[in-house]
């Protein structure tokens, strides 16, 4: 299991690097599909079937939206002229990422090790979830009974985003 997880993560990193570096926009979108479907396999390895179902369909829809937008506009990335600004920004970004990597590596030693989680908050949900709510799916009982405010907020965010998209992509009315 552990080696399978590491291999999937390395595949996702390679897919991400290809997606950012390629010049053709359509290939970049399809390489992003590698990252998304690799994430589905990672969720299955980590014993989370709920998340795998949602992630695979959401990834398909994201690819459909991106490819529809790319095919309606342009398919190429414009060229980058080498100048002083580009070199300086490249060096600055590499220094920033190195500092971040160092800090993150130091912080991960404070977390409990991989596979031994600190179950202080979920102990109550696991032991008494079935009696208190009656649902056999513990994740559904968490999102719709113990923490239903978050689900209400999320439904509102989805609704608002759809209204925003319909307002931005509105077609002009017929000219009189």
């Amino acid at each position: 299991m552990f080696t399978l997880l590491i291999l999937l993560m390395i595949l996702m990193i390679i897919g991400a690097i290809v997606a950012i570096q390629s010049k053709d926009l359509l290939s970049a979108a399809i390489s992003m599909g590698i990252v998304g479907f690799g994430l589905t396999l990672v969720f299955l390895v980590l014993q989370a079937p709920d998340l795998a179902i949602v992630q695979i369909v959401v990834e398909t829809l994201t690819l459909i939206i991106l490819i529809a937008a790319i095919l309606k506009t342009t398919m190429e990335e414009s060229k980058v002229k080498k100048s002083a600004v580009v070199i300086y920004s490249g060096i600055g970004t590499v220094i920033l990422l190195a500092i971040l990597l160092f800090i993150l590596g130091d912080t991960f030693n404070e977390l409990p090790g991989f596979g031994c989680p600190d179950l202080r908050m979920s102990q109550d949900y696991i032991e008494q979830g079935l009696e208190k709510t009656g649902a056999a799916n513990l994740v559904a009982s968490v999102i719709l009974d113990f923490r239903a405010y978050d689900t209400l907020g999320e439904a509102t965010v989805l609704f608002t985003a759809v209204m925003g998209i319909l307002a931005v992509l509105r077609r002009k009315g017929r000219k009189e």
Partner: protein, 144 residues
């Protein structure tokens, strides 16, 4: 937008009904098996998007479809809001699980959780259909 060939149209008609029923199964059994409102809602919208992409778009039919999708989405979230406010009206707290718990591992158990799943499934499927229709209808040189 033009449709595709005859083979694709026939196969998509057969498959769309199957996908729709599979999505409804995942929504309704959300409290017993993995899934729930969000996963089932996205699968249901996938059935409709398959029909749209395979058969091409007619402009008048699509405006009627957009109105129906807007109505379904608003009524889904309105139903969720009503279920949460009933707890307040009964004198206790917001988002109370007021129906009976039932026997575990039955389909009619877990109080209001199946109703909330159905409301969220309706809302998510209509929202995603609206998004994809809006993207397909963008024409070049529209808002100059």
């Amino acid at each position: 937008m033009k449709g595709m060939t005859e083979i694709v149209k026939t196969v998509s008609k057969l498959l769309a009904g199957l996908i729709f029923f599979y999505g409804m199964y995942i929504v309704v059994f959300g409290h017993l098996t993995p899934g729930g409102g969000f996963a089932g809602g996205v699968i249901i919208s996938g059935a409709f998007i398959l029909l749209i992409v395979a058969n091409g778009i007619d402009d008048e039919k699509i405006s009627r479809g957009k109105e129906k999708a807007g109505f379904l989405e608003s009524s889904g979230i309105f139903l969720f809001w009503i279920i949460s406010t009933i707890g307040l009206c009964m004198g206790t707290y917001f988002l109370l699980n007021f129906l009976g718990k039932g026997k575990p591992l039955n389909i009619f158990s877990a109080g209001t959780i199946p109703l909330c799943n159905i409301a969220i499934g309706a809302e998510v499927s209509a929202a995603l259909c609206s998004i994809v229709i809006a993207f397909i209808l963008v024409k070049k040189g529209d808002n100059k």
